[in-house]
């Protein structure tokens, strides 16, 4: 098997049929990367939908091309060398190639050239870093809470955006913003590090407990942009998703108006029973409902404010469809269907679930 | 040669002292590429590495002491310092560095007796320092600053505790050398062992020099 003669057995001289695979596979991959902005990827960073994300993309594309150039150059030379200078069957093994030890000019060249290329990249990169940290004056401000495993949003009083109510607007999981409007997020966390990320609007920003970070967002057009938590935060990190809903002016006004209405307390029927159950079953120990259940138990985990629950489309970290009644009933039956969820409830009868659902439905 | 001798052959030191070849195990450091002894080089490398250990602990302390924590539990460490006492401790440790180097110098002159005296003195001064630290810790705890009380206390005790453990290990090494010397196993050919333990000891001293200034004297 192993030849004793120097140095390699003849078998190796055969062309490995796979040698072509390298360039083809790689080219294929590159092609796929470049066409990755296919529209069936709703959360793609390659498909920016706002000025910030576009700035990032605008930075990425040229760098991508630089990398592609280096890639083609390096792989090209490797492949060329591999074919050009491979030892062939019947070669005289004692004939040695020229023993080149090096070439200082070349060395200097290939030290300086990449350095220049990188300097160029740096020149375009550095200003953007500061640009993205600038704080525009006329932004809509939203306080964002990343908690296990959901997102909470509080809009302070901002008359210029129609928010006049004293304690502002509180909602969860779906972030509503006006399109073509800069939004300044203030990010905090009550438990561990999360990361707010809506790729089509901007990169991600870590939400660090004990700190308040700011981050900017802007959407070109009305629409729904999906995102999710970007930092590992425990069992259900994968289920800590979010949506950004950008409205046109009219839509925004409607939304703001609706969110500032305090829901009425149901007085009859199933919903009224649900209203009672909401306290009896301990829901109000964790969840706030404006005008009805305002204070939560001191040891409660952070839980979404449910005042306008049914103004949303998704719930529990945006992994369930709120328009699907079964999903909500399943949730009330067993919140642990979302693994690691911090919502703990005692067993509820089907009747109680119906009643609670009836009550929750009034919260819009 | 009896078995007893063999099991206690001249390399008896807690410091790793195996040479690569038999003749290196005891020989002067002349068979190495740099002419330096393996053990000493090893100790210096270790000390270089320790710089990053203590650097990390000191930075942690500095960061957390400077931090404004609204409603912090317990007192701030700075309010409890007994600077005169700590100054004495620092002085004790400094002097132990002197006695350490005197011991080395004695053993290099094959002056066993003095070497032994200074070794024991160094160990005793080290013991005094550690006792002072135990006293300080106890006093702080009595004054309301436990290990878990606040950010600063955790960082403080961890940093100075790490240093104290280093001192204690140093004392144990010194005592081992002392015992070896009593049993006549610390010939001047083994002066290097004393030197290496000494390096460790001085390092612990310079760490304290830094701690004394950065942790105790510079106000938060």
């Amino acid at each position: 098997m192993a030849d004793l003669a120097p140095p390699v057995s003849n078998r190796d001289a055969k062309r490995p049929m796979g040698a072509w695979r390298k360039p083809t596979v790689v080219a294929l991959v590159m092609a796929l990367v470049l066409t990755g902005c296919a529209s069936d990827a709703p959360q793609s960073a390659l498909d920016p939908a706002g000025p910030y994300a576009r700035t990032l993309d605008g930075l990425f594309n040229p760098v991508m091309w630089v990398a592609t150039a280096v890639f083609v150059l390096v792989q090209g030379v490797i492949v060329y060398s591999v074919f050009k200078w491979r030892r062939r069957a019947g070669d005289d093994d004692d004939a040695m190639p020229a023993q080149l030890h090096g070439n200082t000019k070349l060395e200097i060249g290939w030290t300086i050239l990449p350095a220049l290329v990188l300097a160029l990249v740096a020149i375009f990169t550095i200003p953007v870093i500061f640009e993205l940290h600038a704080k525009p004056a006329d932004a809509l401000e939203v306080s964002v809470t990343g908690a296990k495993y959901w997102w909470g949003y509080t809009y302070g009083t901002q008359p210029e955006f129609g928010i006049t109510q004293a304690d502002g607007i509180v909602t969860a999981n779906e972030l509503h913003i006006p399109a073509e409007q800069t939004v300044l997020l203030r990010l905090t966390s009550p438990d561990v590090i999360h990361s707010f990320w809506a790729p089509r609007l901007n990169g991600k920003a870590d939400v660090v407990p004990g700190r308040e970070h700011t981050w900017l967002l802007e959407a070109d057009k009305p629409g729904v942009y999906s995102g999710q938590c970007g930092e590992f935060c425990g069992t259900s990190h994968a289920n800590m998703r979010l949506k950004v809903v950008a409205h046109d002016q009219a839509g925004w006004d409607d939304w703001v108006e609706r969110m500032q209405r305090v829901p009425l307390e149901p007085v009859t029927g199933s919903a009224a029973r649900g209203f009672q159950l909401f306290a009896q079953k301990g829901c109000s120990g964790c969840h706030q409902v404006d005008g009805a259940y305002e204070t939560v138990a001191p040891n409660s985990p952070a839980a979404p404010n449910l005042t306008h629950l049914f103004s949303r489309d998704c719930f529990a970290g945006c992994i369930y469809d709120l328009n699907d009644r079964n999903e909500m009933e399943a949730w009330l039956r067993n919140p642990q269907r979302k693994a690691g969820s911090l919502m703990v409830v005692g067993a509820l009868s089907e009747q109680e679930i119906d009643d609670l659902y009836a009550y929750l439905e009034t919260l819009e | 040669m009896s078995v007893a001798d063999q099991t206690m052959a001249p390399t008896s030191t807690p410091v790793e002292s195996s040479g690569p070849l038999a003749h290196d195990a005891t020989a002067a450091p002349h068979h190495t590429s740099t002419g330096l002894s393996n053990e000493k080089l090893g100790m210096w490398l270790f000390l270089g590495s320790e710089c990053l250990l203590f650097g990390g602990l000191i930075s942690t302390f500095l960061l957390y002491r400077a931090k404004d924590v609204p409603g912090m539990a317990g007192p701030a460490v700075g309010d409890l310092y007994d600077i005169p006492f700590t100054s004495v401790s620092s002085f004790v440790l400094l002097m132990s560095s002197l006695t350490m180097v005197l011991s080395l110098s004695a053993i290099q002159r094959a002056d066993q007796r003095r070497a032994r005296t200074w070794l024991l003195t160094t160990a005793l001064l080290g013991g005094t320092f550690v006792a002072g630290q135990v006293y300080e810790f106890t006093a702080f705890v009595r004054e309301g600053l436990g290990y878990t009380t606040n950010l600063q206390s955790s960082a403080f005790y961890t940093l100075t505790g790490f240093h104290g453990v280093h001192v204690t290990l140093g004392i144990v090494m010194l005592m081992s050398l002392f015992v070896m010397s009593l049993r006549g196993r610390l010939s001047s050919e083994r002066a290097e062992t004393v030197e290496i333990v000494g390096l460790y000891w001085h390092f612990v001293d310079i760490v304290w020099i830094i701690i004394f200034t950065l942790v105790y004297l510079i106000p938060a």
Binding site: - | H31, L36, G48, G55, L62, S87, L199, I206, L214, L217
Partner: protein
């Protein structure tokens, strides 16, 4: 003669060419002298504690300078770096510089010095 000893002899020869420092250690008197300087410096450090107001903005620089001087006195004399092979110095100083560098930088990112 065994191969071992010829190799050793070659070693010896090779060693002779490489420079070898060391051996000349300072006298005990100079050790005591250094210790005295150290003690005086420590006293001066402690004194700053009682003259905090008077020193004002000078306090911290003064303390740091004294600390550095003490530090270097110990490593140079007691640890013999001054007299020993400079490989030791290089190794230790690289650890030291690295530690100071990375941790200062890390503290900077926390805006520690501002």
């Amino acid at each position: 003669m065994s191969a071992e000893s010829t190799a050793a002899a070659r070693h010896e020869e090779y060693q002779a060419q490489t420079e070898h420092e060391g051996a000349d250690h300072p006298s005990e008197r100079s050790y005591v002298g250094i210790a005295l300087i150290l003690a005086v410096l420590t006293a001066a450090e402690v004194a700053t504690f009682y003259f905090e107001e008077e020193l004002g903005a000078l306090l911290i620089p003064a303390l740091i300078v004294m600390m550095i001087v003490k530090f270097f006195l110990v490593i140079m004399w007691f640890m013999h770096l001054r007299f020993d092979h400079n490989l030791f110095t290089r190794i230790f100083v690289s650890g030291l510089v690295l530690a100071v560098g990375v941790y200062m930088a890390a503290l900077l990112t926390f805006k520690f010095f501002s």
